[in-house]
């Protein structure tokens, strides 16, 4: 276990350095990336099993016991997030390699992508507030580079929005760390849990809300989300897909981790529930108003972050279990949908609904690959999104939060509406000429590269698997949520050894 825990951080970093050295050999870069991420996925899965069996796993980096050194901690929540995220990283890498516009043409793609993987893993595993900041920065700098990889005018414009907003939130993060340290004298999360307990509740609350704002920007909750739909759609498809699947969820992870461990609430948190409702509503309304597949999907990211925050805001095991299940489902499905968006762009030459039509006839495979996750996204049974929604609705109604649950159900209807907009706009209708695609003119069937389709199909199957295996997975989420609702276990595992 001690060997396993740091692997997801260390392996990609080592590989990133090596990949940089191999920048003249794209095939070696590709092989290295695939091998490394495969190993990381395996390690993460084994870690998940071990944590499930043996409880929280802790490694003191450098052999320095907490709170002197930095501690890596894998509880069930972290292990789940790690396993899902690394699997997505691997799948998207395969897709990127298969992309005909060769997103990995840049010799910087592979090293940066690996660094992104390391950053995401570290964010999940670290048990230290400042190290979490560092993890965020690793992840963000890699994302800055990836989102502007082509250097086109659009990318640069939207990249600026993304970088500046992220930089502001990073600065606020440092500020928050400073304030927390001023009040407590430590940055170790487990240590903080005890020390924050002793200070004035108003100050404690203000610190919690400061961190909420910091992570809220990354997680794209209302009203801090606006950067996301402006920036994500301009990146290359694989990059957008992995951002959409992972990055905001790292923010959500941080919110859940800090709010449950450091600022646990006795009952439902009104602030979180209100934010959740607004996030859901405003996000979906934004999606409805859009006319481009990636932009629509981007707004849905926002909307669905609201569901996750809703689960947290209930502050019950069921609510948080719902949130965790929702996150897992969302990571897979949202990544898939963006990959499909990329398939549409590759095969039809555009993602604008006004210029797309009749794809169901011309690209039936793509249509099927879209339809399943789209239904899942809208919470239509029997797909994973339904189970996720069901878990949250049950949890909410269980504690009498009918209003916010009502909002969430309305939003899921609007989500369905928005998905039909893509479906009707792009897949239904008279097949039209393909734009800007030299590979398939006329009205014949459209083709996308096999590797891309294959990677997407694997993810679609995965999302179906989540639905089929929803029972055990929800049990797992419940266990993870129980762990989060009992912070003493985490604190004990880190401090008392």
């Amino acid at each position: 276990m001690r060997v396993l825990l740091p692997l997801p951080v260390v392996l990609p970093l080592l590989a990133a350095g090596t990949s940089l050295a191999l920048h003249r050999h794209r095939w070696l870069q590709r092989a290295l990336g695939l091998v490394t991420l495969t190993a990381v996925v395996v390690a993460s899965l084994v870690l998940l099993l071990e944590v499930r069996a043996d409880g929280i796993s802790v490694v003191d980096v450098g052999g320095w016991p907490a709170p002197i050194g930095i501690t890596l901690v894998a509880d069930l929540f972290a292990a789940i997030m790690l396993a899902v995220s690394t699997a997505m990283l691997l799948a998207v890498l395969v897709y990127a390699i298969g992309h005909p516009a060769t997103d990995d043409a840049s010799r910087f793609f592979h090293p940066t992508y690996l660094v992104l993987a390391a950053g995401v893993s570290l964010a999940f595993l670290t048990g230290d507030l400042f190290n979490l900041f560092v993890a965020f920065e690793i992840m963000l700098i890699a994302s800055y580079v990836l989102i502007t990889l082509g250097g086109s005018q659009e990318q640069v414009r939207s990249g600026m929005t993304y970088v500046v907003i992220s930089l502001l939130s990073s600065t606020l993060f440092v500020t928050a760390v400073a304030l927390v340290y001023a009040a407590t004298g430590t940055v170790n999360l487990a240590d903080l849990a005890g020390r924050l307990d002793g200070i004035d509740p108003a100050i404690r609350n203000a610190l919690g809300l400061t961190l909420l704002v910091v992570f809220g920007v990354k997680a794209a909750i209302f009203p801090l989300f606006s950067w996301l739909p402006d920036s994500y759609p301009t990146a290359p498809s694989p990059v957008t897909a992995i951002f959409a699947g992972l990055l905001t969820k790292v923010g959500v992870y941080a919110i859940i981790r800090t709010q449950t461990l450091l600022f646990p609430s006795d009952g439902a948190s009104t602030v979180l529930l209100v934010l959740a409702a607004l996030t859901m509503v405003v996000g979906v309304l934004g999606a409805i108003s859009q006319n481009d597949i990636k932009r629509i999907l981007s707004f849905h990211i926002v909307s669905q972050i609201g569901y996750m925050i809703l689960g947290l805001g209930l502050f019950t095991v069921a609510g948080i279990a719902g949130a965790i299940f929702y996150i897992v489902h969302h990571i897979v499905v949202k990544t898939t949908l963006f990959l499909v968006g990329g398939l549409v762009e590759v095969s039809a030459g555009t993602g604008a609904l006004s210029r797309l039509s009749g794809l169901a006839r011309r690209a039936p495979v793509v249509a099927a690959l879209f339809a399943l996750p789209a239904l899942s996204l809208a919470g239509i049974p029997p797909f994973s999104g339904f189970v996720a929604k069901l878990a949250l609705v049950q949890a909410g109604l269980d504690v009498g939060q009918g209003l916010v649950i009502g909002v969430s159900l309305l939003v899921s209807l609007l989500t369905l509406f928005s998905m039909t907009k893509i479906w009707a706009g792009a897949f239904w209708g008279e097949p039209t000429e393909v734009e800007a695609s030299d590979r398939a003119g006329g009205e014949g069937p459209l083709r996308a590269p096999r590797l891309m389709v294959g990677a997407t199909a694997v993810l679609v199957v995965t999302s179906l698997g989540i639905a089929v295996g929803a029972g055990p997975l929800h049990d797992l989420s419940s266990d993870a949520a129980s762990g989060l609702m009992a912070p003493d276990r985490y604190v004990g595992a880190v401090l008392d050894r």
């Binding site: 020390r195 809300l209 704002v213 049950q394 039909t420």
Partner: protein, 775 residues
């Protein structure tokens, strides 16, 4: 392909028959698999009498529909898709009626909505079909979500999601009322009850087999199914249940009937008729009275048989005559005689004429209601009125589709030319008609099934039987009355039409739906244009205002700013602070890029001195070096840019910027001192200081922290630096490669340089006084 798919419902029929013995004897067949037990989702199935009736309906009519569809469509490439969707629908519908778990029921319910969406939009190149598909999906979807909430409320009140257990021992309390209301929303939308009925006529954009199957025989019965199941249990508990459900049913029956009389498209006429009949069913089941329930079960069967048949005939007419407008159809009674006969029989059943099944069912219903005494009077009146309308629109349908119409100048209208269809297409319709006739004539054949169905809904159903002839009864009298009024309405159809014209037009459900949709779209645009302004300054402002609004406000409730703070620890601190503050303000006010950068440098050096005063030499060194190198990098970039900041109109007024800035400043400063004063325990640094030399092997504790205690931070940090370097290289190199590409072939997409910054016009003097360039 389609015939092959018919094997699936056929197999279901066979299976149902094998199970029928037990079920008819009142022993439900059950089966259970686990799915998400922690959420109460169990794949529990239970075949009781009512389920058996529904299964028979879904799969029996299903076989007919598949057979019909196989001849209905001319060969086309997407028939496979059609067959798949139709099969998927049939499966979902079977699941819906078979499951004994409310949540699984919801699953199937939504699946039928989705397959319905895809089937209505099957002719996806036609915009009306797409719109109708969406309409149906949104209405039934909305209702479905309400129903889900209702299920969960109910399930949580009952402690189980097992349907049969809840019905056996229904919970009580306000929660159940809420649950009932929510569930009814689902049922009403699905079964096209007023005021949610508008989607069903629209759904006629679907190919006729779909209309026949989903939108008359099966899917739209799902709501009825739900009401039938719940009514016996909930009607006694929820006080408003009976008036609301029955009232809605009657209203729907009347509204549907009246609308049917207005239609010119015979398919739409049937659709409105379906709405009306669904209302009838809801009224019968909704009361939760035993005999009405029994009658409802019978009508359910009868309706499926005659309405599917009628749709099939409409499809044949449509294919043959290439129109469904009754003003253009004429003389089909002779050119399509077999079709006309089938249609007439089915219509007669619908209109409740003996000796068909429809009559038997209606008689049972009227009789049952009469047994309920005075409390059912209003219901009876409504149903008789509705039945009269049914007779009228039934006649209108037969006349409209098949009669030879009066043309202009008193002559008969010329017969509509037709393409004579093959005989095979009529086979399924004939089969269903035979059932209508046989079961009408020999109701005893259907009686065990109907009785078992009714009894599984309400165990109190006892000793009720289907009969063709009850003797001269009040019920028969009411039937005769209805037929007479209906006939009068048909023959006075011109006057009826004129009267309907004169009635004030209330806004129809479709208009409300469309207005809601448009309103939602507009709202979405408005909201989005506010929150998603596209302006970076606005986003930043929102972020910072949120900071003030959440933690800022929370801080106001705290202990306040401590009063015992020292002004400074060292007089120099004050001097340097003043310097830093001054340089910061100057940086904020500077109008030229380099001036701002130099002021920033001043701030950086000042901060370095603050670090020195604070006792942080490493930090001071780092700050000094970083600041210097930052200035260099600034220069490397800014040398390309114009000397002065462009003063383009700003989105945010100066005042609002100052306000936010002041707020943020006050917030951080006060939070800093408040947080500092809140400290109760010493920091962990005592340990660090103590262990740095003996265990870390270094005297510079900061360095030991960086490379040892917190080496992971440092590892991350250099990763950030390395990737930043890659990013810089990537950006600059992308510029170079695009420039090279541009040199090779002048790229027209490359933006033309903004005016004033061309090579011939060197930018304004760099070194000059603020204000005038050289003064």
């Amino acid at each position: 392909m389609l015939l092959l798919c018919a094997l699936a419902p056929a197999a279901t029929v066979v299976w149902a028959i094998t199970q029928a013995g037990d079920v008819l004897d009142g022993r439900p067949v059950t089966e259970q698999r686990s799915w998400v037990p922690s959420l109460g989702v169990e794949l529990a199935f239970r075949l009781d009498g009512f389920a058996l009736l529904m299964v028979a309906l879904v799969s029996g009519v299903g076989v007919a529909i598949f057979a019909y569809a196989s001849t209905y469509f001319s060969p086309r490439p997407d028939l496979g898709r059609f067959a798949g969707l139709l099969t998927a629908f049939a499966g979902s519908m079977l699941g819906l009626v078979l499951t004994d778990n409310l949540l699984v029921l919801y699953v199937c319910w939504e699946l039928t909505s989705v397959t319905s969406y895809l089937l209505i939009g099957f002719e996806d190149t036609k915009a009306p079909a797409r719109a109708a598909a969406l309409h149906a999906l949104l209405i039934t979807g909305a209702g479905g979500l309400a129903m889900l909430a209702g299920f969960i409320v109910l399930g949580q009140a009952a402690g189980t999601y097992t349907f049969s257990e809840i019905l056996a021992a229904p919970p009580s309390g306000t929660a159940v009322g809420i649950a009932a209301a929510l569930i009814l929303l689902g049922a009403f939308t699905k079964s096209a009850q007023v005021p949610f009925h508008s989607w069903l006529p629209g759904a006629m954009a679907a190919p006729t087999p779909v209309s026949a199957y989903l939108h008359s025989a099966t899917m739209v019965k799902a709501g009825v199914y739900l009401i039938a199941r719940f009514a016996p249990a909930l009607a006694p508990i929820v006080i408003w249940w009976r008036p609301v459900v029955v009232g809605v049913g009657i209203a729907t029956m009347l509204v549907g009937g009246l609308s049917a009389l207005r239609q010119h498209d015979v398919k739409l006429l049937l659709a409105h008729g379906t709405v009306s009949q669904l209302g009838f069913l809801v009224a019968l089941f909704g009361a939760g009275w035993e005999e009405a329930t029994f009658a409802g079960a019978a009508l359910l069967l009868a309706h499926a048989l005659f309405k599917a048949t009628l749709f099939m005939t409409v499809g044949i007419v449509d294919h043959a005559a290439h129109t469904r407008d009754l003003r253009q159809l004429s003389g089909l009674h002779s050119s399509l005689r077999p079709v006309a006969i089938v249609a007439v029989v089915a219509t007669a059943s619908m209109a409740g004429l003996p000796p068909f099944l429809g009559f038997v069912a209606k008689e049972a219903g009227l009789g049952g209601l009469l047994h309920e005494g005075s409390r059912a009077t209003a219901v009876l009146i409504g149903i008789v009125a509705g039945s009269a309308l049914t007779v009228a629109y039934g006649a209108r349908f037969v006349w409209g589709a098949f009669a030879t119409k009066a043309g202009s100048a008193g002559k008969a209208m010329a017969a509509t030319p037709i393409d004579q269809p093959g005989a095979a297409i009529l086979v399924p319709a004939v089969a269903l008609t035979v059932a209508t006739v046989v079961l009408g004539a020999l109701p005893v054949l259907a009686d065990p099934l109907i009785e078992a169905a009714a009894r599984s809904l309400d165990p109190r159903v006892e000793g009720v039987h289907l009969q063709l002839w009850h003797g001269i009864t009040v019920a028969l009298g009411l039937s005769v009355l209805a037929i007479a009024v209906g006939a009068a309405l048909f023959f006075g159809r011109d006057r009826v039409a004129r009267t309907q014209e004169r009635l004030p037009r209330t806004s129809s459900g479709t208009e409300v739906y469309q207005a809601t949709l448009a309103g939602t779209l507009h709202l979405a645009d408005r909201v989005t244009s506010v929150v998603q302004s596209g302006s970076l300054p606005r986003y930043l402002q929102v972020t910072l205002v949120t900071l003030l609004a959440l933690p800022g406000v929370a801080l106001l409730g705290g202990p306040g700013i401590p009063t015992d703070l020292p002004i400074a620890e060292n007089p120099l601190q004050v001097v340097v602070a003043v310097l830093v503050v001054g340089a910061a303000i100057a940086a904020a006010r500077a109008r030229r890029r380099f001036a701002a950068v130099l002021c920033l440098g001043g701030v950086g050096y000042g901060v370095a001195v603050l670090f020195v005063i604070q006792g942080a030499p490493d930090l001071a060194l780092t700050q000094l070096l970083v600041e210097t190198l930052a200035v260099v990098i600034f220069v490397l970039v800014l040398r390309h840019l114009p000397e002065r900041f462009s003063e383009t109109p700003r989105r945010l007024s100066r005042l609002s910027r100052i306000a936010v800035a002041a707020g943020v400043g006050v917030f951080t400063a006060s939070f800093a001192v408040i947080a500092g004063a809140a400290r109760r325990e010493p920091s962990i640094s005592g340990e660090l200081l103590a262990r740095a030399l003996p265990e870390g092997g270094g005297r510079n504790v900061v360095n030991v922290i960086l490379v040892d205690f917190r080496g992971l931070d440092t590892l991350g940090e250099i990763t950030v630096l390395a990737v930043a370097a890659l990013g810089i290289a990537s950006l600059v190199l992308s510029g170079r490669s695009s420039r090279e590409a541009g040199a090779a072939a002048h790229d027209p997409d490359e933006p033309v340089p903004a005016g004033g910054h061309t090579a011939d016009h060197p930018r304004t003097e760099a070194i000059s006084r603020e204000g005038t360039p050289l003064g």
